[in-house]
């Protein structure tokens, strides 16, 4: 593991306009290291998706900054994004709108491949830092055509000529992931990519996404409200509550020994298929948890 985090957020604050303004993210900091899979979990409205958009530059934070390999990631403005920053890619939540309905899926995956080539050319021209160059060399075994990508995600080469409406939600999410990964990102941010899918497809898509990301040497930030799926694939967990990080740690540690009362409630809310017919303990909307992070003694 290198000594520098790949992507790091420093004291990020995001406010949405309103009276009073809604503070969706309030002073969040964390690091993402090369090659790791991190799960960002929390209930709906806790600021996970906002954080994902800040990390990709789709939203400009009110204060704080996002660094990619120690350099500030510029927010996406009206101009196009320079190839320098296309190493951060994202998979979105809604399988219905994550692909352009009027373009063939092959052409959409080809966009990702073109992005990867452009970035490689850019890196060659600008003599990018060694770590990035190593990564590009490492991913030479990535599929080189949309057809190979479709086969990699369990579809057939002939599917390249079909439109998104011909695929199921799970297949579309796999295609969207293939498109993002075809750009050979160093960081893939997946914002609830499985929450709109049925239970049997969720684990399949999550596993496929993780294995593809690890094959390509990309770090994965998997955002979800479903701890039971994230637990299966993430190395580390970050728990968010009302715009704050309230707990972080190795997945098994957080799972088996949660420190923060909110994490305990979140774990308690997972239904157990033990046949006892018990309803999970649900945290009521009137329950307020402390916003301070529970720090694990090393």
């Amino acid at each position: 593991m290198s000594d520098q985090p790949l992507l790091s957020a420093h004291d990020v604050v995001v406010e949405y306009p309103g009276t009073p303004p809604v503070r969706a993210v309030d002073g969040v900091s964390f690091d993402l290291w090369p090659g790791e899979v991190v799960g960002l979990v929390g209930e709906s409205g806790c600021g996970k998706s906002t954080m994902a958009r800040v990390l990709t530059g789709l939203i400009k934070p009110r204060s704080g900054q996002v660094l990619l390999r120690g350099r500030p990631l510029p927010p996406l403005g009206l101009g196009g994004r320079s190839p320098e920053w296309t190493g951060v890619q994202m998979v979105f939540q809604d399988p219905g709108s994550s692909l352009n309905p009027r373009r063939r899926v092959g052409a959409q995956i080809a966009d990702g491949i073109a992005t990867a080539r452009l970035r490689q050319a850019y890196q060659r021209r600008h003599r990018a830092e060694a770590a990035d160059a190593d990564q590009s060399a490492d991913v030479q075994r990535a599929p080189a055509t949309p057809e190979r990508w479709l086969e990699r995600i369990g579809l057939t080469a002939r599917d390249a000529d079909r439109f998104p409406r011909h695929f199921s939600g799970g297949q579309r999410q796999r295609i969207a992931a293939a498109r993002a990964l075809a750009a050979r990102p160093t960081v893939l941010i997946a914002d609830e990519p499985i929450s709109a899918l049925d239970a049997s497809t969720q684990a399949k898509v999550a596993h496929l996404m993780c294995s593809m990301a690890s094959d390509l040497g990309a770090s994965l930030l998997l955002i979800s409200h479903d701890l039971s799926i994230v637990r299966l694939v993430a190395d580390r967990l970050i728990v968010m509550y009302q715009g704050h990080v309230v707990e972080r740690g190795q997945t098994e540690q957080v799972w088996s020994d949660p420190l923060h009362p909110y994490t305990k409630a979140l774990l308690g809310a997972i239904p157990a298929p033990d046949g006892a017919g018990r309803l999970p303990e649900a945290a009521g909307p009137d329950v307020a948890y402390p916003l301070e992070e529970a720090v694990r003694p090393d």
């Binding site: 196009g80 890619q89 352009n100 373009r103 966009d111 452009l118 409406r165």
Partner: protein, 298 residues
Amino acid sequence: MSRPTTADLTAPRSLLGRPRRRRLWRAIPKAWRTPLGVAAGLIALGWLVIALIGPAIVPHDPLAQDLPRFQAPSRAAWLGTDELGRDVFSRVLAGARVTILLSLLLVLMSMLVGSLLGVVAGFFGRWVDEVIMRLTDLVMAFPTVILAMVTAAALGASLFNAVLAALVVSWPSYARVVRSMVLSLRSSEFVASGRLLGFSPAHSMRVDILPNVAGPTLVMASLDIGTAALLLSGLSFLGLGAKPPMPEWGSMVATAVQNFDRWWLGLFPGLAILTVVMAFNFLGDALRDHLDPGAERA
């Protein structure tokens, strides 16, 4: 002896031409296979042909005043003659060129002007959007026909000025609709994915936004052809469009109003306007059904 195949069984029927007719029927897109869709298509096609080759098929010169005045429909003059002894049938056929071709031109121009301004407003937002939208508010604040009349009167009565006046009042609806579509598309996930892949604004517009805007805009335009025909005829009816002796349906109806007891003077140009407006409206409906992404396609 082998069992007869389905092809053998149907072979004799092909002699009657039924499967061929069915093949032709199936060649028509599903959404168009309604009695109204087919009838509208045939009527619109008929009028378009007349508009294109009208001068070649008219039985009389539409400007020649060599027939008896106010002659009721007869074998010599199928739709009668007008107050100057001109053949009404020939004038109705010749009038198709003016009304239909100018309506198509008007719709095309308003679609281009309105869509361009709508795309610019929706994509760039901020003050650009404000300026363009306030301009549309300004135009839309006036009743369409009144504003078109005022504009045509100010420019001077001529067909060119009537088209210009109609253009002034008809572009804002395109600008509004296209702007709202661009706004919602701009924040959609596949557009964000494209931007993260490094699409420039122009590329994003061409690949992700315009193809998704084109369908609904074309439907709107096809529904607008009837309205445009009505508006242009209306301006001519008021004496602000075509000038005598040019054969034009609106001005022919205006003449008929002066001679109310000669029913054929107004009935036939009126029927021409009615069939054109209805045919293009039904055609627009069928096109909308055909292009609706939610509609099931065979």
